[in-house]
């Protein structure tokens, strides 16, 4: 498991009380189905950017990241 995925799972649990499962990632579950709303996703991204001192592309996040699998794959580019 990549370090970004570890962090995503940790922040989702610590901050949002949400457990992201491997099955949800494999099935490309929607953010809503995982229990993440738009404010949650902003919070998660802020936390991940802070932790890795990276800047994710807003346009790509809004246009291309449609589910939890998309997000995991995008974050993996920073592993």
């Amino acid at each position: 498991m990549g370090k970004t995925l570890d962090l995503l799972k940790k922040e989702a649990f610590d901050r949002l009380d949400i457990t992201i499962t491997d099955e949800q990632i494999e099935k490309a579950a929607s953010f809503k189905d995982v229990g993440i709303d738009s404010l949650d996703s902003i919070e998660l991204i802020v936390a991940i950017e802070d932790e890795f001192d990276i800047e994710l592309n807003e346009k790509r996040l809004e246009d291309d990241i449609k589910n939890i699998k998309d997000l995991v794959e995008y974050l993996a580019e920073f592993d």
Binding site: L39, D40, I42, V46, E49, D50, E58
Partner: protein
């Protein structure tokens, strides 16, 4: 009243001067959004900057905020019904019989929020609670940042343009008796929430407040007092810099206009009066929120018997310490609603 903003003096008693002050505050926000501070800017700030630039660009191209009318005069028709023609009051659709009604007054920070949202842009977590829900919006076109002193203190729209008229309309929209009626407000609507709770005290049982501007009384507002202290500093301190964000200047301008209009203290400074009513108040302040701590102190000094102060150990990021809404929506609201049963 003279006010110095970014080294230029404006006369708040001169309507045209006040107009350009308003424009210059918005321009100042835009300039700040373009600043290269030489380090990474957090995601939520980048989204804010982008939205601000977009709405200001569209306004510049169109000549007014009217470009946004089609965006904002919409709502989630699956989940809500519109109760007023001006889109200001909307009710959650439900077949269930609830004994609790939540009346929420959404708060948008500025044009970037008001002109990019529809009229039912409230937390899904609030909508999903086992309660009836009324959303009471302020008409986004009636709320220039500082020139028009609204913030719900002068009603909600051109039709319901006083607290009295807005309260009357809200009453009409409440069509059954409830065990609990909760007024739910955030940030800049903190004072307004208490004002509406007082005006509806015969039916409102609870007030839920996320910390914010709790008074617009000229000689009590901590931001006004901070500015006046700086403005009257002795000659020996003339070089002293005033660290005052735009939002605080906007508050001062509004508060001065309220003063000129002689709006009742009971409307402008409701926490001084709300203790006289049988309304249970829960006030939530972020532990790291230094922006509004002076307003929290104003409330604490009232020693309101039915008020519980909650300090919330949460911040979105080091630069976003005021907005504790995500934490309240996720952890506090569900428990709060359950506790009412």
């Amino acid at each position: 009243m003279k006010l110095i903003f970014r080294d230029i003096e404006y006369d708040l008693d001169d309507t045209i001067d006040s107009y350009f002050l308003n424009e210059n505050i918005i321009q100042d926000q835009y300039r700040k959004s373009k600043l290269d501070i030489g380090k990474r800017v957090d995601y939520s700030t980048r989204i804010y900057n982008r939205d601000l630039k977009n709405v200001l660009h569209d306004k510049a191209m169109h000549g007014s905020w009217d470009f946004a009318r089609d965006n904002v005069n919409t709502y989630d028709t699956d989940k809500f019904e519109k109760l007023t023609d001006d889109y200001c009051i909307l009710r959650k659709k439900t077949d269930k019989e609830y004994d609790t009604l939540v009346i929420t007054f959404p708060s948008f920070a500025g044009p970037e929020g008001r002109f990019t949202s529809n009229r039912t842009n409230v937390s899904e977590r609030l909508i999903d609670q086992d309660t009836d829900l009324l959303i009471v919006n302020e008409d986004p076109f009636r709320m220039p940042e500082s020139l028009y002193p609204s913030n719900l203190m002068l009603g909600i729209s051109d039709t319901y343009n006083t607290v009295e008229l807005a309260v009357e309309k809200i009453r009409e929209c409440i069509t059954k008796e409830y065990k609990n009626i909760v007024i739910h407000v955030e940030s800049k609507h903190a004072a307004a929430g208490a004002t509406y709770a007082i005006q509806l005290n015969d039916i409102v049982t609870h007030l839920f407040v996320m910390s914010g501007a709790t008074t617009f009384k000229w000689d009590k507002s901590p931001w006004v007092q901070k500015y006046l202290k700086w403005a009257s500093r002795p000659e020996s301190l003339k070089d002293q810099f005033l660290d005052m964000p735009d939002v605080q200047f906007m508050h001062i301008i509004k508060t001065y206009n309220f003063k000129k209009m002689r709006i009742s203290d009971k409307i402008l400074d409701p926490f001084a009066y709300i203790g006289d009513y049988d309304i249970k108040i829960d006030y939530y302040h972020g532990k790291y929120d230094t922006d509004f701590i002076s307003f929290k102190k104003v409330v604490e000094e009232q020693n309101i018997k039915n008020l519980t102060m909650h300090n919330i150990d949460y911040k979105i990021s080091d630069t976003q310490t005021h907005n504790i809404k995500p934490h309240l929506d996720r952890y506090i609201i569900p428990e709060y609603i359950k506790s009412l049963r």
